[in-house]
Amino acid sequence: MVTTPTKATIVRIKNVRFFQSDMKKENVPQDVSALGKITKEVCYATDSSGKYVKELSSGWDVKINALDVAWKDVEERIAKAKAQVLNEEASPLLFFMEYRLMDPGILADYTGFWKWQIKRHLKPNVFKNLSDKKLQKYAEAFNVTVEDFKTMTVHEA
Protein backbone atom coordinates (compact mmCIF):
# COMPACT_ATOMS: atom_id res chain seq x y z
CA MET A 1 0.00 0.00 0.00
CA VAL A 2 1.47 3.32 -1.02
CA THR A 3 0.46 6.22 1.15
CA THR A 4 0.50 9.79 -0.02
CA PRO A 5 2.28 12.27 2.18
CA THR A 6 0.15 13.57 4.97
CA LYS A 7 -1.39 16.96 4.67
CA ALA A 8 0.68 18.15 7.60
CA THR A 9 3.93 17.75 5.67
CA ILE A 10 2.75 19.68 2.69
CA VAL A 11 1.49 22.51 4.83
CA ARG A 12 4.76 22.54 6.71
CA ILE A 13 6.79 22.75 3.54
CA LYS A 14 4.79 25.73 2.35
CA ASN A 15 5.27 27.47 5.66
CA VAL A 16 8.99 26.90 5.65
CA ARG A 17 9.60 30.62 6.03
CA PHE A 18 8.12 30.58 9.52
CA PHE A 19 9.52 27.23 10.44
CA GLN A 20 11.27 26.68 13.79
CA SER A 21 13.36 23.56 14.26
CA ASP A 22 12.86 21.04 17.07
CA MET A 23 16.62 20.85 17.26
CA LYS A 24 17.34 24.10 19.01
CA LYS A 25 20.50 24.49 21.04
CA GLU A 26 18.68 24.06 24.32
CA ASN A 27 16.91 20.93 23.05
CA VAL A 28 20.06 18.95 22.28
CA PRO A 29 19.58 15.80 24.37
CA GLN A 30 21.81 15.30 27.40
CA ASP A 31 21.06 11.74 28.45
CA VAL A 32 24.16 9.94 29.64
CA SER A 33 25.40 7.23 27.28
CA ALA A 34 28.40 4.89 27.59
CA LEU A 35 30.29 7.23 25.29
CA GLY A 36 29.06 10.27 27.21
CA LYS A 37 31.13 9.17 30.20
CA ILE A 38 34.26 9.41 28.07
CA THR A 39 33.52 12.19 25.63
CA LYS A 40 30.62 14.36 24.61
CA GLU A 41 29.75 14.42 20.94
CA VAL A 42 29.14 17.32 18.60
CA CYS A 43 25.62 17.96 17.33
CA TYR A 44 24.45 20.68 15.02
CA ALA A 45 21.57 22.74 16.39
CA THR A 46 20.09 26.20 15.87
CA ASP A 47 20.41 29.18 18.17
CA SER A 48 17.64 31.71 18.88
CA SER A 49 18.21 33.46 15.55
CA GLY A 50 17.98 30.17 13.65
CA LYS A 51 21.71 30.04 12.93
CA TYR A 52 23.43 26.69 13.18
CA VAL A 53 25.99 26.22 15.94
CA LYS A 54 27.92 23.27 17.31
CA GLU A 55 26.55 21.97 20.58
CA LEU A 56 27.85 19.13 22.74
CA SER A 57 25.57 16.26 23.66
CA SER A 58 26.23 13.56 26.24
CA GLY A 59 23.80 11.18 24.57
CA TRP A 60 20.18 10.54 23.64
CA ASP A 61 17.92 7.88 25.18
CA VAL A 62 16.60 6.84 21.79
CA LYS A 63 20.01 5.81 20.57
CA ILE A 64 21.21 4.51 23.93
CA ASN A 65 18.29 2.07 23.73
CA ALA A 66 19.17 1.21 20.14
CA LEU A 67 22.70 0.34 21.21
CA ASP A 68 21.32 -1.70 24.13
CA VAL A 69 19.19 -3.69 21.70
CA ALA A 70 22.24 -4.41 19.55
CA TRP A 71 24.24 -5.63 22.56
CA LYS A 72 21.37 -7.68 23.92
CA ASP A 73 21.30 -9.53 20.59
CA VAL A 74 25.05 -10.06 20.81
CA GLU A 75 24.86 -11.28 24.43
CA GLU A 76 22.17 -13.76 23.46
CA ARG A 77 24.32 -15.15 20.68
CA ILE A 78 27.32 -15.39 23.01
CA ALA A 79 25.27 -17.25 25.65
CA LYS A 80 23.94 -19.63 23.03
CA ALA A 81 27.44 -20.29 21.71
CA LYS A 82 28.74 -20.91 25.23
CA ALA A 83 26.01 -23.46 25.89
CA GLN A 84 26.83 -25.22 22.61
CA VAL A 85 30.51 -25.41 23.53
CA LEU A 86 29.75 -26.78 27.01
CA ASN A 87 27.50 -29.40 25.39
CA GLU A 88 30.38 -30.28 23.09
CA GLU A 89 28.34 -29.38 20.03
CA ALA A 90 30.86 -26.74 19.03
CA SER A 91 34.46 -25.76 19.77
CA PRO A 92 35.52 -22.67 21.77
CA LEU A 93 36.11 -21.05 18.39
CA LEU A 94 32.36 -20.48 18.07
CA PHE A 95 32.25 -18.76 21.45
CA PHE A 96 35.08 -16.38 20.57
CA MET A 97 33.67 -15.61 17.15
CA GLU A 98 30.45 -14.48 18.78
CA TYR A 99 32.33 -12.75 21.59
CA ARG A 100 34.41 -10.78 19.09
CA LEU A 101 31.40 -10.15 16.78
CA MET A 102 33.14 -11.93 13.93
CA ASP A 103 31.79 -14.05 11.13
CA PRO A 104 33.92 -16.60 9.25
CA GLY A 105 34.67 -13.97 6.61
CA ILE A 106 36.24 -11.43 8.98
CA LEU A 107 38.03 -14.18 10.91
CA ALA A 108 39.45 -15.58 7.66
CA ASP A 109 40.87 -12.12 6.91
CA TYR A 110 42.42 -11.84 10.36
CA THR A 111 43.92 -15.33 10.50
CA GLY A 112 44.67 -16.18 6.90
CA PHE A 113 42.65 -19.41 7.12
CA TRP A 114 40.06 -20.25 4.51
CA LYS A 115 36.44 -19.96 5.52
CA TRP A 116 35.93 -23.71 5.04
CA GLN A 117 38.84 -24.39 7.39
CA ILE A 118 37.29 -22.15 10.02
CA LYS A 119 33.96 -23.91 9.69
CA ARG A 120 35.76 -27.23 10.12
CA HIS A 121 37.56 -25.97 13.22
CA LEU A 122 34.18 -25.28 14.78
CA LYS A 123 33.80 -29.04 15.33
CA PRO A 124 35.08 -30.09 18.76
CA ASN A 125 36.80 -33.20 17.40
CA VAL A 126 38.74 -31.27 14.80
CA PHE A 127 39.52 -28.48 17.24
CA LYS A 128 41.09 -30.90 19.72
CA ASN A 129 43.80 -31.80 17.24
CA LEU A 130 44.71 -28.29 16.09
CA SER A 131 48.41 -27.48 16.15
CA ASP A 132 49.75 -24.85 18.52
CA LYS A 133 50.61 -22.68 15.55
CA LYS A 134 47.01 -22.60 14.37
CA LEU A 135 45.70 -21.98 17.87
CA GLN A 136 48.15 -19.12 18.19
CA LYS A 137 46.76 -17.51 15.03
CA TYR A 138 43.25 -17.60 16.43
CA ALA A 139 44.35 -16.35 19.84
CA GLU A 140 46.07 -13.39 18.20
CA ALA A 141 42.98 -12.50 16.17
CA PHE A 142 40.86 -12.60 19.31
CA ASN A 143 43.44 -10.77 21.41
CA VAL A 144 43.59 -13.51 24.08
CA THR A 145 46.16 -16.08 25.21
CA VAL A 146 46.07 -19.59 23.74
CA GLU A 147 45.22 -21.00 27.16
CA ASP A 148 42.26 -18.64 27.60
CA PHE A 149 41.19 -19.40 24.05
CA LYS A 150 41.09 -23.15 24.69
CA THR A 151 39.30 -22.78 28.01
CA MET A 152 36.84 -20.11 26.86
CA THR A 153 38.08 -17.61 29.44
CA VAL A 154 37.65 -13.84 29.07
CA HIS A 155 39.09 -11.23 31.37
CA GLU A 156 37.46 -8.09 30.05
CA ALA A 157 34.30 -6.73 31.55
Partner: protein, 337 residues
Amino acid sequence: MKLDFEHLQSAHCESGVTSSLLRKNSGGKITEPLAFGIGAGLFFCYIPLIKINNGPAIAFRTFPGLIFKRTCNALGIPVIRKKFRSKDQAEDYLKQRLDEGHPVGCQVGVYYLSYFPREYRFHFNAHNLIVFGKEDDNYLISDPVMETTTTLTSYELERVRFAKGALAPRGQLYYPKEDVEITDERIRKAIISGIKNNVNQMLRIPGSFAGIRGIKYTGEKIKRWRDKLGLQKAGSYLAQLVRMQEEIGTGGGGFRYIYAAFLQEAYAYVQKDELLEISKMFTQAGDLWRTAAVQAAGIYKGRIGSQKDFDVMGDYLIEISVLEKEAFTALKNIKWN
Protein backbone atom coordinates in the same frame (compact mmCIF):
# COMPACT_ATOMS: atom_id res chain seq x y z
CA MET B 1 58.12 14.70 18.29
CA LYS B 2 54.94 16.68 18.39
CA LEU B 3 53.71 18.77 15.50
CA ASP B 4 52.14 22.14 15.83
CA PHE B 5 48.56 20.99 15.51
CA GLU B 6 45.29 22.15 16.99
CA HIS B 7 42.70 19.48 17.78
CA LEU B 8 39.26 20.18 16.40
CA GLN B 9 36.26 18.22 17.62
CA SER B 10 33.60 17.59 15.01
CA ALA B 11 30.47 15.56 14.54
CA HIS B 12 31.56 13.33 11.70
CA CYS B 13 34.99 11.75 11.45
CA GLU B 14 35.75 12.15 7.76
CA SER B 15 34.47 15.69 7.29
CA GLY B 16 36.18 16.59 10.57
CA VAL B 17 39.51 15.16 9.43
CA THR B 18 39.13 16.94 6.10
CA SER B 19 38.44 20.25 7.80
CA SER B 20 41.42 19.79 10.15
CA LEU B 21 43.87 18.74 7.47
CA LEU B 22 42.87 21.71 5.33
CA ARG B 23 43.13 24.20 8.15
CA LYS B 24 46.61 25.31 7.12
CA ASN B 25 45.61 25.75 3.48
CA SER B 26 42.35 27.49 4.17
CA GLY B 27 43.16 29.47 7.29
CA GLY B 28 40.29 27.68 9.03
CA LYS B 29 37.71 28.66 6.41
CA ILE B 30 36.83 25.11 5.49
CA THR B 31 34.67 24.22 8.47
CA GLU B 32 33.18 20.80 8.98
CA PRO B 33 29.81 21.65 7.35
CA LEU B 34 31.60 23.18 4.35
CA ALA B 35 33.77 20.08 3.96
CA PHE B 36 30.70 17.88 4.25
CA GLY B 37 28.72 19.88 1.67
CA ILE B 38 31.52 20.44 -0.81
CA GLY B 39 32.29 16.74 -0.55
CA ALA B 40 28.59 16.03 -1.30
CA GLY B 41 28.35 13.94 1.85
CA LEU B 42 24.58 13.60 2.15
CA PHE B 43 23.21 10.32 0.93
CA PHE B 44 20.89 7.47 1.64
CA CYS B 45 21.36 3.87 0.69
CA TYR B 46 19.76 0.60 1.67
CA ILE B 47 21.71 -2.36 0.39
CA PRO B 48 19.45 -5.39 0.24
CA LEU B 49 20.86 -8.91 0.76
CA ILE B 50 23.89 -7.63 2.63
CA LYS B 51 23.85 -7.90 6.41
CA ILE B 52 25.92 -5.86 8.82
CA ASN B 53 26.05 -7.18 12.38
CA ASN B 54 23.08 -9.38 11.48
CA GLY B 55 20.99 -6.34 10.56
CA PRO B 56 20.21 -4.26 7.47
CA ALA B 57 22.97 -2.32 5.69
CA ILE B 58 21.86 1.31 5.66
CA ALA B 59 23.98 4.39 5.09
CA PHE B 60 23.09 8.07 5.48
CA ARG B 61 26.32 9.36 3.99
CA THR B 62 28.35 8.84 0.93
CA PHE B 63 30.98 6.12 0.43
CA PRO B 64 33.99 6.38 2.79
CA GLY B 65 36.89 8.39 1.41
CA LEU B 66 34.79 10.37 -1.05
CA ILE B 67 34.28 13.45 1.12
CA PHE B 68 38.01 14.07 1.50
CA LYS B 69 38.67 13.32 -2.14
CA ARG B 70 35.88 15.46 -3.56
CA THR B 71 36.51 18.39 -1.24
CA CYS B 72 40.21 18.52 -2.08
CA ASN B 73 39.51 18.08 -5.79
CA ALA B 74 36.96 20.85 -5.81
CA LEU B 75 39.37 23.16 -4.00
CA GLY B 76 42.23 22.31 -6.35
CA ILE B 77 44.39 20.62 -3.72
CA PRO B 78 46.38 17.59 -4.83
CA VAL B 79 45.92 14.58 -2.55
CA ILE B 80 48.20 11.71 -1.66
CA ARG B 81 46.51 8.50 -0.61
CA LYS B 82 48.44 5.31 0.04
CA LYS B 83 47.64 1.74 0.93
CA PHE B 84 50.23 -0.73 2.15
CA ARG B 85 50.82 -4.45 1.96
CA SER B 86 53.41 -4.44 4.68
CA LYS B 87 52.81 -3.19 8.19
CA ASP B 88 56.42 -2.06 8.53
CA GLN B 89 56.24 0.02 5.39
CA ALA B 90 52.98 1.54 6.58
CA GLU B 91 54.60 2.66 9.81
CA ASP B 92 57.82 3.87 8.16
CA TYR B 93 55.87 6.01 5.75
CA LEU B 94 53.82 7.51 8.55
CA LYS B 95 56.94 8.30 10.59
CA GLN B 96 58.65 9.87 7.63
CA ARG B 97 55.66 12.11 7.00
CA LEU B 98 55.59 13.17 10.64
CA ASP B 99 59.33 13.86 10.55
CA GLU B 100 58.74 16.18 7.63
CA GLY B 101 56.32 18.04 9.85
CA HIS B 102 52.94 17.05 8.40
CA PRO B 103 49.93 15.57 10.19
CA VAL B 104 48.46 12.53 8.45
CA GLY B 105 44.89 11.24 8.09
CA CYS B 106 44.42 7.51 8.63
CA GLN B 107 41.52 5.21 7.93
CA VAL B 108 41.10 2.74 10.79
CA GLY B 109 38.77 0.07 12.14
CA VAL B 110 37.09 0.80 15.45
CA TYR B 111 36.90 -2.73 16.84
CA TYR B 112 40.30 -2.67 18.51
CA LEU B 113 40.39 1.11 19.01
CA SER B 114 41.40 1.16 22.66
CA TYR B 115 40.14 4.59 23.69
CA PHE B 116 36.58 3.90 22.50
CA PRO B 117 34.21 2.43 25.08
CA ARG B 118 33.57 -1.25 24.41
CA GLU B 119 29.88 -0.62 23.67
CA TYR B 120 30.85 1.36 20.60
CA ARG B 121 33.31 -1.11 19.17
CA PHE B 122 31.90 -2.94 16.18
CA HIS B 123 33.75 -4.13 13.12
CA PHE B 124 33.40 -0.80 11.37
CA ASN B 125 36.44 -0.03 9.25
CA ALA B 126 35.77 3.41 7.87
CA HIS B 127 36.66 5.54 10.85
CA ASN B 128 39.14 8.38 10.35
CA LEU B 129 41.66 10.03 12.64
CA ILE B 130 44.74 12.22 12.43
CA VAL B 131 48.20 11.28 13.67
CA PHE B 132 50.15 14.39 14.62
CA GLY B 133 53.21 13.19 16.49
CA LYS B 134 55.01 10.44 18.35
CA GLU B 135 56.39 10.39 21.88
CA ASP B 136 58.34 7.24 22.84
CA ASP B 137 56.14 4.39 21.67
CA ASN B 138 52.96 6.45 21.68
CA TYR B 139 51.42 8.05 18.63
CA LEU B 140 49.57 11.29 19.29
CA ILE B 141 46.06 11.01 17.91
CA SER B 142 43.49 13.63 17.09
CA ASP B 143 40.24 11.73 16.71
CA PRO B 144 37.60 14.20 15.55
CA VAL B 145 34.76 12.62 17.52
CA MET B 146 36.68 12.93 20.81
CA GLU B 147 36.72 16.11 22.89
CA THR B 148 40.47 15.95 23.46
CA THR B 149 43.51 14.38 21.82
CA THR B 150 44.49 10.87 22.78
CA THR B 151 47.28 8.35 22.15
CA LEU B 152 47.76 4.86 20.75
CA THR B 153 50.82 2.66 21.17
CA SER B 154 52.52 1.70 17.92
CA TYR B 155 51.03 -1.81 18.25
CA GLU B 156 47.52 -0.45 18.85
CA LEU B 157 47.78 1.90 15.89
CA GLU B 158 49.09 -0.86 13.64
CA ARG B 159 46.21 -3.07 14.74
CA VAL B 160 43.50 -0.57 13.82
CA ARG B 161 45.24 0.48 10.61
CA PHE B 162 45.25 -3.14 9.57
CA ALA B 163 41.78 -4.05 10.80
CA LYS B 164 40.14 -6.73 8.65
CA GLY B 165 36.73 -7.30 7.13
CA ALA B 166 34.56 -5.14 4.88
CA LEU B 167 36.28 -1.88 3.79
CA ALA B 168 39.55 -3.05 5.37
CA PRO B 169 41.76 0.05 5.60
CA ARG B 170 44.98 -1.78 4.64
CA GLY B 171 47.07 0.83 6.39
CA GLN B 172 45.52 3.56 4.31
CA LEU B 173 46.72 7.10 4.96
CA TYR B 174 46.12 10.38 3.17
CA TYR B 175 47.00 14.04 3.28
CA PRO B 176 46.88 17.16 1.12
CA LYS B 177 50.06 17.11 -0.93
CA GLU B 178 51.12 20.69 -0.57
CA ASP B 179 49.98 23.94 0.90
CA VAL B 180 47.91 25.64 -1.75
CA GLU B 181 46.16 28.82 -0.82
CA ILE B 182 42.38 28.59 -1.08
CA THR B 183 40.67 31.74 -2.30
CA ASP B 184 37.05 32.70 -1.58
CA GLU B 185 36.29 32.46 -5.29
CA ARG B 186 37.58 28.89 -5.26
CA ILE B 187 35.38 28.06 -2.26
CA ARG B 188 32.40 29.63 -4.04
CA LYS B 189 32.88 27.41 -7.07
CA ALA B 190 33.50 24.36 -4.90
CA ILE B 191 30.25 24.96 -3.01
CA ILE B 192 28.25 25.15 -6.23
CA SER B 193 29.80 22.00 -7.64
CA GLY B 194 29.32 20.22 -4.30
CA ILE B 195 25.62 21.06 -4.30
CA LYS B 196 25.21 19.92 -7.91
CA ASN B 197 26.99 16.71 -7.07
CA ASN B 198 24.73 16.05 -4.12
CA VAL B 199 21.61 16.80 -6.16
CA ASN B 200 22.66 14.19 -8.69
CA GLN B 201 23.53 11.72 -6.00
CA MET B 202 20.11 11.96 -4.38
CA LEU B 203 17.80 12.54 -7.35
CA ARG B 204 19.40 10.87 -10.33
CA ILE B 205 21.11 7.80 -8.98
CA PRO B 206 19.66 4.80 -10.80
CA GLY B 207 17.84 1.97 -9.04
CA SER B 208 15.43 1.99 -6.16
CA PHE B 209 17.82 1.38 -3.25
CA ALA B 210 19.68 4.67 -3.10
CA GLY B 211 18.97 8.38 -2.94
CA ILE B 212 15.47 9.74 -2.50
CA ARG B 213 13.91 6.59 -3.93
CA GLY B 214 15.91 4.52 -1.46
CA ILE B 215 14.28 6.31 1.48
CA LYS B 216 10.84 5.55 0.11
CA TYR B 217 11.86 1.97 -0.64
CA THR B 218 13.05 1.52 2.94
CA GLY B 219 9.78 2.98 4.24
CA GLU B 220 7.81 0.42 2.22
CA LYS B 221 10.11 -2.36 3.43
CA ILE B 222 9.71 -1.42 7.10
CA LYS B 223 5.97 -1.91 6.85
CA ARG B 224 6.60 -5.54 5.94
CA TRP B 225 9.29 -6.21 8.56
CA ARG B 226 6.86 -7.19 11.31
CA ASP B 227 5.27 -9.98 9.27
CA LYS B 228 8.46 -11.08 7.63
CA LEU B 229 10.89 -11.05 10.57
CA GLY B 230 8.75 -11.26 13.67
CA LEU B 231 8.45 -8.49 16.22
CA GLN B 232 11.78 -9.00 17.98
CA LYS B 233 13.97 -9.13 14.91
CA ALA B 234 12.07 -6.27 13.30
CA GLY B 235 12.82 -4.28 16.45
CA SER B 236 16.52 -5.09 16.13
CA TYR B 237 16.46 -3.97 12.51
CA LEU B 238 14.89 -0.64 13.50
CA ALA B 239 17.49 -0.23 16.24
CA GLN B 240 20.19 -0.67 13.61
CA LEU B 241 18.53 1.96 11.39
CA VAL B 242 18.48 4.41 14.30
CA ARG B 243 22.13 3.71 15.15
CA MET B 244 23.22 4.42 11.59
CA GLN B 245 21.15 7.59 11.67
CA GLU B 246 22.05 9.03 15.07
CA GLU B 247 25.17 7.32 16.37
CA ILE B 248 28.43 9.17 16.80
CA GLY B 249 29.38 10.98 13.68
CA THR B 250 26.11 12.16 12.17
CA GLY B 251 25.61 15.43 14.03
CA GLY B 252 21.98 14.33 14.51
CA GLY B 253 19.15 13.57 12.10
CA GLY B 254 21.21 11.37 9.79
CA PHE B 255 23.56 14.21 8.72
CA ARG B 256 20.59 16.37 7.69
CA TYR B 257 21.44 19.05 10.27
CA ILE B 258 25.05 19.25 9.12
CA TYR B 259 23.80 19.72 5.60
CA ALA B 260 21.41 22.45 6.73
CA ALA B 261 24.37 24.13 8.47
CA PHE B 262 26.37 23.80 5.26
CA LEU B 263 23.71 25.64 3.25
CA GLN B 264 23.70 28.47 5.80
CA GLU B 265 27.48 28.75 5.63
CA ALA B 266 27.38 28.52 1.85
CA TYR B 267 25.27 31.66 1.80
CA ALA B 268 28.27 33.67 2.97
CA TYR B 269 30.00 32.75 -0.32
CA VAL B 270 27.05 32.48 -2.68
CA GLN B 271 24.36 35.03 -1.91
CA LYS B 272 21.30 33.13 -3.06
CA ASP B 273 18.34 33.61 -0.73
CA GLU B 274 17.07 30.17 -1.72
CA LEU B 275 19.95 28.59 0.18
CA LEU B 276 18.61 29.84 3.51
CA GLU B 277 15.09 28.68 2.71
CA ILE B 278 16.26 25.27 1.58
CA SER B 279 18.45 24.98 4.66
CA LYS B 280 15.25 25.09 6.70
CA MET B 281 13.82 22.26 4.64
CA PHE B 282 16.79 20.10 5.57
CA THR B 283 16.35 21.06 9.19
CA GLN B 284 12.78 19.84 8.85
CA ALA B 285 14.01 16.63 7.29
CA GLY B 286 16.39 16.18 10.25
CA ASP B 287 13.53 16.76 12.67
CA LEU B 288 11.39 14.24 10.86
CA TRP B 289 14.18 11.64 10.90
CA ARG B 290 14.40 12.14 14.64
CA THR B 291 10.64 11.86 15.06
CA ALA B 292 10.86 8.58 13.16
CA ALA B 293 13.67 7.46 15.49
CA VAL B 294 11.42 8.10 18.50
CA GLN B 295 8.72 5.95 16.88
CA ALA B 296 11.30 3.22 16.19
CA ALA B 297 12.46 3.39 19.82
CA GLY B 298 8.89 2.82 20.94
CA ILE B 299 8.94 -0.41 18.94
CA TYR B 300 12.34 -1.74 19.98
CA LYS B 301 11.71 -0.91 23.60
CA GLY B 302 8.49 -2.92 23.37
CA ARG B 303 6.22 -0.02 24.29
CA ILE B 304 4.35 -0.32 20.98
CA GLY B 305 4.50 -2.91 18.20
CA SER B 306 1.28 -3.34 16.24
CA GLN B 307 1.26 -3.44 12.45
CA LYS B 308 -0.17 0.06 12.60
CA ASP B 309 2.92 1.24 14.47
CA PHE B 310 5.12 -0.18 11.71
CA ASP B 311 2.92 1.52 9.12
CA VAL B 312 3.39 4.85 10.89
CA MET B 313 7.14 4.24 10.97
CA GLY B 314 7.24 3.43 7.25
CA ASP B 315 5.09 6.44 6.45
CA TYR B 316 7.57 8.72 8.22
CA LEU B 317 10.26 7.62 5.78
CA ILE B 318 7.94 8.06 2.83
CA GLU B 319 7.15 11.55 4.09
CA ILE B 320 10.85 12.27 4.43
CA SER B 321 11.49 11.14 0.86
CA VAL B 322 8.86 13.61 -0.36
CA LEU B 323 10.34 16.42 1.70
CA GLU B 324 13.94 15.74 0.66
CA LYS B 325 12.89 15.42 -2.96
CA GLU B 326 11.40 18.90 -2.75
CA ALA B 327 14.50 20.23 -1.07
CA PHE B 328 16.90 18.75 -3.62
CA THR B 329 14.69 19.80 -6.52
CA ALA B 330 14.76 23.33 -5.14
CA LEU B 331 18.56 23.15 -4.99
CA LYS B 332 18.64 21.86 -8.54
CA ASN B 333 16.53 24.80 -9.71
CA ILE B 334 18.77 27.51 -8.30
CA LYS B 335 20.16 29.68 -11.10
CA TRP B 336 23.79 30.08 -10.16
CA ASN B 337 24.70 32.91 -12.52
